[in-house]
């Protein structure tokens, strides 16, 4: 008998693999291939293998859409407060402070003016990295001010949405942001302004049920989750399997509520094209 026969599995020590620096590679959730992060990032944060669109924050979105060095940020001095004294497992101010530190911004919406392929526009981007892009008073206020700015200067307005919905921690006041932004869009519409709404993964709840669905032209990134109620809520209500691709961009386009599904690589071109067609 050889020595190995007496060995038990618990004693076996597998040699440690060479250490891979944290986050240098990642697995694509769509095609499961190992992706070199740098390469993915250079590809507009899309998988080089299957073109899966990774979620991106507002700053990266602006970098991708606006001509270099033309973006002038606005309304970034608006800070949220805790009008309700909201406490769940954690206090709202505590949550806000943590998010603000991480996101290096006061709330979840970046806005300003810039040029898209030489065309001036007002751009507002919700930031998924700040409390799931949820809409509280500040997000609603920044979107509204952006709309008013576009109305005033007769500029095209582009809002890139990605949101879990209205922010629970500001309850009724969050809800009222839906009415506020929609009312501002009514005025913009009456003045003949062009509003392009860009829906990205995920756009749900109160954001979808207000400004996100009010675009003159509504563009969606491929396979983005777009809906009013979340799929889990629907499943719990109706207790049956949801159809394949339900609430994804392509499905929503088929239902008639999205004008065009546009891959990220084409987004800038498409925005410029629509601005030109509207003569803005």
């Amino acid at each position: 008998m050889t020595q190995t026969a007496n060995r038990t599995w618990t004693e076996v020590k597998t040699p440690r693999r060479a250490v891979i620096p944290e986050g240098l590679w990642l697995r694509c959730p769509s095609c499961a291939s190992m992706v070199y992060r740098k390469q993915m990032e250079l590809n507009l944060h899309c998988c080089p293998e299957c073109n899966h669109h990774f979620r991106i924050g507002a700053d990266e979105r602006i970098r991708q859409l606006v001509d270099q060095d033309t973006f002038e940020p606005m309304f970034q001095n608006l800070a949220p407060s805790d009008p309700l004294n909201f406490v769940d497992l954690k206090g709202y101010p505590e949550r806000l402070a943590a998010e603000q530190k991480r996101a290096k911004a006061l709330d979840g919406c970046r806005a300003g003016t810039g040029f898209i392929k030489g065309r001036a526009a007002v751009l507002a981007c919700l930031d998924l990295h700040f409390m799931m892009g949820s809409m509280g008073s500040v997000v609603g206020e920044i979107v509204t001010r952006s709309i008013e700015l576009a109305t005033e200067r007769d500029l095209p307005l582009i809002v890139v949405s990605c949101s879990g919905g209205a922010r629970m921690q500001e309850s009724g006041l969050s809800l009222m942001q839906m009415a506020k932004t929609s009312a501002a869009l009514a005025r913009f519409d009456r003045k003949g302004g062009l509003y392009i709404s860009v829906l990205t993964d995920p756009t749900t709840g109160g954001v979808t049920a207000s400004f996100a669905m009010l675009g003159d032209v509504i563009i969606a990134e491929p396979k983005a989750l777009i809906g009013f109620a979340g799929p889990r809520v629907i499943q719990q209500t109706i207790r049956q399997e949801l159809p394949e691709g339900f609430q994804r961009s392509e499905y929503v386009q088929e239902s008639g509520f999205v004008d065009r599904v546009v891959p990220r690589s084409q987004l800038r071109n498409e925005l410029a094209r629509v601005i030109d067609y509207a003569g803005k």
């Binding site: 001095n77 309850s171 009222m176 009415a179 009312a183 109620a229």
Partner: protein
């Protein structure tokens, strides 16, 4: 009263009701109290009944003046609570119902039609939850579909055309979350209503009569004046939904905490500037005296409408815009 739906916090009342019933039976056996002949026994029992009744009345007042937010939500959902159709019966004359959205169908969860209130010709729009099991199922328990919101908007545009004021009754747990509703554009239907309502050139009054659940409620509540019944709730999400997300589970403890945190009662919404008026309900809430509740709503309508009708349309929608434009808690800091 034994078949009457009981709320947990009404248990003290239940006990008193039992005692009153017993005492009344005793009184009957003792020959009752009458001006002609009453035994001293019967007189004693009679005064006991009176004392118990007085105590019950006081207890009812006490219970209802100390409700927690979560208990208010339960009152708002009371199966006997008056609904849109009840209020139409109680405070409108000559209701002329109008059906259908002329696009897809007729959503019974949304009731629309012409009616007369006092000297006014108005358009009524309201969520309907349903009373009988059959009606509840047809109405999806007050959860309207996109066709319901489109029906509401179509009729509201009609009201604008004929310069009829619009009265909306809000009573929904939320817009319906289902496959068909999503496919037919639930979000778009609500969003469109929010935008168009802000621009309707006719006065709009909204009353949250029971549940004001999120976007589904707001979809017919972008009004010049918004009132809430004393025991109604209005919030961005139901307490259960909020508890399930933020507390990771919905049970009595977390629901109570969520309801508290969401500041969903009429008094809280008034303080936050979301509504303009709390309409006081009869003692023990609207389901104990629907006619009195309807009267209170009617009074508010009769006072508010003439004030709004004095404004010309431009001024009206400018003020409506300002009303919603001012909402939110935002602090301007010196720099980003």
């Amino acid at each position: 009263m034994s078949s009457f739906y009981q709320l947990e916090f009404e248990k003290p009342l239940l006990e008193l009701d039992r005692q009153i019933e017993e005492a009344e039976a005793d009184l009957k056996r003792a020959g009752g109290v009458s001006p002609e002949s009453s035994s001293p026994d019967a007189l004693a029992i009679g005064s006991r009944v009176d004392a118990l009744r007085a105590r019950r009345a006081q207890t009812l007042i006490d219970v209802y003046s100390n409700l927690t937010a979560w208990e208010v939500v339960q009152v708002a959902r009371h199966p006997k609570r008056p609904q849109t159709r009840d209020y139409i019966d109680l405070l409108c004359r000559d209701f002329c119902e109008l059906h259908g959205d002329r696009r897809f169908g007729d959503d019974p969860a949304m009731v629309t039609g012409f009616a007369r209130i006092g000297p006014h010709r108005v358009l009524i729009v309201g969520h309907q939850k349903g009373r009988t099991t059959q009606e509840k199922i047809a109405c999806h328990f007050g959860c309207a579909h996109p066709e319901g919101y489109r029906k509401a908007m179509l009729k509201m545009k009609l009201a604008e055309k004929f310069r009829l004021p619009i009265i909306t009754f809000v009573d929904t747990p939320g817009a319906y979350p289902g496959i068909g509703a999503e496919e037919r554009g639930q979000a778009e239907a609500i969003a469109y209503n929010l935008r168009e309502m802000s621009d309707l050139r006719t006065p709009i009054l909204s009353v949250v009569i029971g549940e004001g659940g999120s976007g589904g409620a707001l979809g017919i509540a972008v009004a010049d004046r918004v009132a809430m019944m004393q025991y109604a709730w209005y919030s961005v999400i139901s307490p259960e939904g909020c508890a399930a997300i933020l507390w990771k589970q919905a049970n009595k403890t977390t629901n109570t905490a969520a309801a508290e945190s969401l500041k969903l009662t009429a008094a809280d919404n008034l303080r936050l500037g979301i509504i303009d008026r709390v309409i006081t309900e009869p003692v023990g809430a609207a389901h104990r005296d629907p006619a009195a509740a309807a009267k209170a709503i009617e009074q508010w309508i009769l006072v508010s409408l003439p004030e709004l009708e004095r404004l010309n349309a431009d001024e009206l929608i400018a003020r409506r815009y300002d009303r919603f434009r001012a909402m939110g808690a935002v602090t301007e800091t010196a720099s980003a």
